[in-house]
Amino acid sequence: MTQFGSVRLEGVVKRHGSFTALHGIDLAIAPGEFFALLGPSGSGKTTTLRILAGLEEVDEGRVFLDDADVTQREPGERDVAMVFQSYALYPHMTVEQNISFPLRMIGTPAAQIAAAVRDAAAKVGIGHLLARRPGQLSGGQQQRCALARAIVRKPRLFLLDEPLSNLDAKLRLETRAELRKLQRSLGITAVYVTHDQEEAMTVADRMAVFMEGRIVQVGAPRDIFLAPANATVAAFIGTPAMNLLPAQLADGRVQVHDASLPVAAPPGERGAVMLGIRPGDLQVGADGIAARVEFIEDLGDNVIINFDVQGQRLKSRRDRAAGLAEGQQVRLSFDPHAAHLFDGATGERLQASAPGRP
């Protein structure tokens, strides 16, 4: 792998007038990592990306690329390439001219340019479209053209701003995998902004979850999935979202409405909590929380059952809906080790380790 392309943000603060978009961001990305910035709209992830690019200035804090302080450096001086959400292809230039533009700007000899362009275009599979204009390309082809333009000069950092959001669902899934492969083969550090947590989970080596201008959790997608740091992250990650219920914790058991169920809680913890159960961990049985089946979504591969628990909707994911019908009264339970517990007031995770691991 490469040794270049490490990124570090220290205490980055960004304000727009009286509104603070970023409240002190600290981040470290290793060379060659595929790092995702995940969060809902307005959470500050795109702002952070643009700060890395140099397109926005910071009010406080510093930005380091390969241990060099680039906070004051212009975008063109950072050796960073970016794929915009709208692709930002130059409409009056052909695909070939678009891709070769960065090389032309730094005065690369013509022969070298031609070879590099062919190479980049081949890597993303648009070698046959070099003479066309962006207006004549499909959405997916435009996206690849933008990618080719980004990789052609082998920058030390890739920035991608929701590059797949303008593609239709099926294309998105295919392109996701290809992006991952491409990044691996090039070995260039990539920072990827998305609001789609499934996307982040599949492409990223590590990710940072943004909420309201702060990073609330950093780690491998799997780790965050298994042990979300607080209730908000828990609700954000996973499809369908984690079920969250208010409950009372005492002596290793939670009281949820009329039911008392055992949980693997840290010793000595008690009080008001938010109980989190993933849809895949919600079981239907004879004992547990009283619920009524509201409706069943049959997705073919699996089934999502929507329950009504005293006005709140819970979801369970199973292989088949065996034996369950709408309107049926059932009882819900879960494996004690599969439960997530969050402080009732702060929403912070109570358990030290991921459930399921002793």
């Binding site: 140099g54 397109l55 390969d66 060099a68 302080d69 212009e74 975008p75």
Partner: protein, 305 residues
């Protein structure tokens, strides 16, 4: 590409932030034009205001000297000034209203005959590209001339007799209003036609399903949607009407007497025909103040949506 480990403290390179470079570039682009504008508009403006504070009559040069606001107070009791002000209001108001009404109605009608639109657009371009002075002369000679002018021929044929369209004080005002309207209605027509063509059809389909009749669709959907275009047309046409000069000059010269002497022309005549530069300057200043005030108001109106 080798990268050295730079110390965490400030590097030796001068710091060129994005903002400062952008600033320098922006000013480099803007300053030449601003300089030209400064030289050619602000300096003469200062001179104009300065003149307006003086008694400066080339016909009576012995009276020259600083006069303070005398020119302006004199305006207050000058019936010719109030006449010109009134004429300006009438001229501007009627031409703009007529242009918008006629232009909008025609646009709505023409919208429904897509095949005719091409030819009509060409016909509409003609009045707009002509020089106003030529338009004024045209109308004066070929259209409004007694006996063989188009209008006179028509009025005789319709039994209304021959009239001195530009020589009769009443008719003269109507004539110059007609000239201005003729020349500039195509502008409103073209702009509104283009705007109407871009309206989304699904809004109308929804309205049809909601059982809205043609008039209701017009008032509740069309009008609000084209409001920005109408406002902009009104602003632009007002500016043109306030500064209209060449057409009226060519057609009537401001006469007969002062029958078509809008403020613009009054200022011109005072300065150049009567050579009373001081008073003429003050009239021009007043005209400018009115123009600025109206445009300020209109832009406010445009923003307050």
């Amino acid at each position: 590409m080798q990268l050295k480990r730079e110390p965490a403290a400030r590097s030796a390179r001068p710091i060129r932030t994005l903002a400062s470079q952008e600033r320098r570039f922006a000013l480099a682009l803007l300053v030449p034009a601003l300089l030209v504008l400064l030289l050619t508009t602000t300096t003469p403006l200062v001179y104009l205001v300065w003149n307006s504070l003086h008694r400066l009559d080339l016909g009576m040069p012995w009276l020259s000297g600083f006069a303070g606001l005398e020119n302006y107070t004199r305006m207050g009791s000058d019936p010719r000034f109030w006449n010109s002000l009134w004429l300006t209001v009438v001229y501007t108001g009627s031409t703009v209203v007529l242009q918008v009404l006629i232009g909008l109605s025609l646009a709505l009608l023409v919208l429904q005959i897509p095949r005719g639109q091409g030819v009509l657009r060409v016909a509409a371009i003609l009045p707009i590209v002509l020089a106003p002075v030529v338009v004024g002369l045209f109308w004066r000679t070929l259209v409004l001339a007694p006996d063989f002018g188009l209008v006179d021929v028509a009025s005789r044929a319709l039994g209304m007799g021959s009239h001195n369209w530009l020589g009769d004080p009443q008719l003269a005002l109507i004539s110059v209003i007609a000239i201005h309207t003729w020349q500039w209605t195509p502008f409103a027509f073209l702009v509104l036609l283009a705007t109407l063509a871009t309206l989304p059809p699904d809004v109308y389909e929804a309205a049809r399903l909601d059982r809205a009749g043609a008039w209701q669709r017009f008032f509740h959907i069309t009008l609000p949607l084209i409001r920005p275009a109408i406002v902009m047309v009104v602003i632009l046409r007002m500016m043109t009407a306030l500064s209209a000069f060449a057409a009226i000059f060519a057609a009537t010269g401001g006469g007969p007497g002062s029958a078509t002497e809008i403020l613009n022309l009054y200022a011109y005549r005072t300065s150049f025909t009567e050579l009373n530069l001081g008073y003429g300057a003050s009239l021009a200043v007043v005209l400018m103040a009115i123009t600025l005030a109206i445009s300020f108001l209109m832009f406010r109106l445009r923003r307050a949506r």
